[in-house]
């Protein structure tokens, strides 16, 4: 390597190790996770993921500053995403899910994956794992920042323990958000190779159903107002919420997740009325949305061919 002369050694066969299918799927998932944050791409690809991540973390940072000055924790863990940052997560999913799948459809790269040791469902599996992990990072890191910013000034082990116990349900709900948003986002994005269409479709789906859920709830006599009401506004839940209002949240993924949270015992106040006796339907709906998204992804990529 010290000489500047390049010798043409001719063609050399490769006799090193060849990795098996699981390792290839892992490599594809890692590659996709990086691309979800624009890593390995140009500077422009990093704008949306970096901005949305910073905005996701902002409330946690504000909380940390506040606790340093002696305040209490400002935001609950389990409604952090729904009440403060659902919009940001939807923007992240709408912008980045197409980055993982629509891009490959657009440039017809799929035949190159199919002609390699990967099997048909390995590709969507790797993409799903990668994007779920990306959404997890987007959601759980701010929650951990919120936790850290709080316990640093908590004073006493019992206070820290109380924070830790409050954090875990929050992490669990955050994980549900990540899994559902990633699955729906990829399922919609896998329909088209045009990024702009995919982004638009994902955003429209989430916002439209959410607005609809909110309107239906209002019409049915539930608590009115936008679902993402600003934090700190005291919200009085009516004593008896009509059944129709309690069912209204079923049509939109964010309100389904919110219903599931309350069904699982989450107590933080919310513009979505507690589902009460119909809570289990929210659980079923969550699974149904997940199954529909994964089923569509499977069908979509089983049908894919070489051309």
């Amino acid at each position: 390597m010290t000489t500047g002369v390049i010798h043409d050694l001719g063609y050399q066969h490769y006799d090193g190790p060849r990795l098996g299918r699981p390792a290839i799927v892992r490599a594809l998932a890692w590659h996709s996770l990086r691309s979800a944050f624009g890593l390995g791409r140009g500077a422009r690809a990093k704008i949306v993921p970096v901005l949305t991540f910073v905005v996701m973390c902002l409330p946690a940072v504000v909380n940390a500053v506040s606790t340093v000055h002696g305040g209490h924790r400002l935001f609950p863990y389990d409604t952090y995403v729904f009440r403060l940052r659902a919009l940001v997560m939807i923007i992240f999913v709408a912008a980045q899910a197409p980055e993982l799948v629509s891009r490959d459809l657009r440039s017809h790269v799929l035949p190159l994956y199919l002609s390699r040791p990967l099997r048909r469902l390995d590709y969507p599996l790797a993409k799903l794992v990668a994007f779920t992990a990306a959404c997890l990072l987007m959601i759980e890191i701010p929650l951990l920042l919120l936790y850290l910013g709080t316990i640093v000034n908590a004073g006493g082990w019992s206070a820290i323990w109380a924070q830790t116990r409050a954090l875990f349900p929050g992490l669990l709900i955050g994980a549900l958000w990540a899994v559902l948003l990633a699955a729906i986002g990829l399922a919609i994005a896998s329909c088209t190779g045009r990024r702009a269409y995919a982004t638009g479709a994902i955003a429209i789906y989430f916002f439209l159903t959410w607005t609809l859920a909110s309107i239906l709830r209002g019409v049915a006599g539930g608590p009115s107002g936008p679902a993402g009401a600003p934090p700190g506004v005291p919200h009085v839940v009516p004593v008896a919420v009509p059944l129709a209002a309690r069912l209204a949240g079923l049509i939109s993924p964010p309100t389904v997740l919110e219903g599931v949270r309350q069904w699982l015992g989450g107590t933080s106040v919310s513009p979505v009325p507690p589902p009460g006796s119909v809570g289990v339907i929210y659980g079923v709906m969550l699974l149904a949305l997940l199954a529909a998204s994964l089923g569509w992804l499977a069908v979509r990529y089983l049908r894919a061919g070489l051309s």
């Binding site: 190790p17 590659h31 051309s307």
Partner: protein
């Protein structure tokens, strides 16, 4: 016996593929591919792409069996795809990554560890003739450079077999020649067996050792290149007038010919055919416009086949 087995790169036995709605893509195809460069020739819809899909283990045959590199496509698709490079006909490159990044990634997808993928990507890009350009984004490449990247990604996993689907599509004549020379070099110096699918016989015959011709999902012919093309070479004779007379006289003197619009196609049997035509034209006193050797396209070859059958 063992030598006999290793002589076959691809072994296909009574392979049939029917799609729903009674579409038969392959109809009892039996053929073997030996090491070297083999042209897979057929008109569009002859079953070439279906055959490639079956060989890669991506679609199961309706009946019959195909072995690639000694492995059954029905049970060892993963292994076969790990040792076979495939170059699709259509554009398959993302514009916003560099050639190096793209080929490295696909090297990893072929099962190479990280460092090996990087080294093999650099090497295969160098072998296809991309040097400094490989650090630029693919979107800025010319069609010829893109075809080279497509070839490099097929080569990156050090395959024992390359399946190239219409590798000269979209290239200008110069680009076609360069691409074919490159493929010939890979087949010769690198010792990799190659199957080139094409609908143009004249296009690939120059670099192929063998040809396999398909028609309507069945084997039309499989042979070495020399025996294949000798009967397919024709002379096109154009005269201003007296075409029927010339045809009649040539037939009487023992040449096999047929009119094709304004020209007469004469089977080229050897150097003597030139003399025969020259003498016949002179004897009849016809104004000879043009006399040229023609490489027939496969489509013509297929169109002629029923007639050949009938005259036999």
């Amino acid at each position: 016996m063992l030598a006999c087995v290793t002589e076959m790169v691809i072994d296909i036995q009574a392979l049939t593929k029917r799609y729903p709605r009674e579409v038969t893509a392959l109809d009892g195809l039996t053929v073997t591919f030996v090491p070297g460069i083999t042209g897979l020739i057929g008109a569009n819809g002859a079953g070439k792409s279906t055959l490639i899909k079956i060989l890669l283990g991506l679609v199961p045959p309706t009946s019959g069996r195909a072995n690639v590199l000694g492995h059954d496509t029905a049970t060892s698709g993963d292994w076969i795809r790990g040792h076979t490079g495939y170059m699709p006909e259509h554009d398959c490159l993302p514009p916003d990554v560099s050639g190096t990044e793209f080929v490295t990634h696909l090297g990893r997808m072929s099962g190479l560890p990280r460092t090996a993928a990087r080294e093999r990507a650099a090497e295969s890009l160098r072998h296809v003739g991309l040097y400094e350009e490989r650090y630029r984004l693919i979107g800025g490449y010319s069609t010829g450079m893109k075809q080279r990247v497509k070839l490099a990604q097929a080569l990156v996993g050090d395959p024992r077999l390359l399946l190239l689907d219409e590798p000269t599509t979209g290239l200008d004549p110069g680009g076609r020649t360069a691409m074919l020379d490159l493929i010939a070099r890979i087949g010769g110096e690198f010792g990799i067996s190659i199957v080139i699918s094409s609908h143009l016989l004249g296009e690939v015959e120059r670099i192929c050792d063998h040809l396999v011709a398909l028609e309507a999902g069945a084997l039309l012919r499989a042979d070495t290149i020399s025996s294949f093309t000798s009967t397919q070479r024709v002379l096109a004779v154009e005269v201003d007038e007296g075409l029927p007379e010339l045809a009649a006289e040539l037939t009487r003197r023992g040449a096999s010919c047929e009119p094709d619009g304004r020209v007469l196609l004469v089977q080229l049997a050897g150097e003597a055919t030139y003399d025969l035509i020259r003498d016949t034209v002179a004897d009849l006193g016809l104004p000879l416009n043009r006399l040229e050797q023609r490489r027939r396209q496969v489509a013509e070859l297929f169109a002629d086949q029923p007639e050949l059958e009938a005259t036999r």
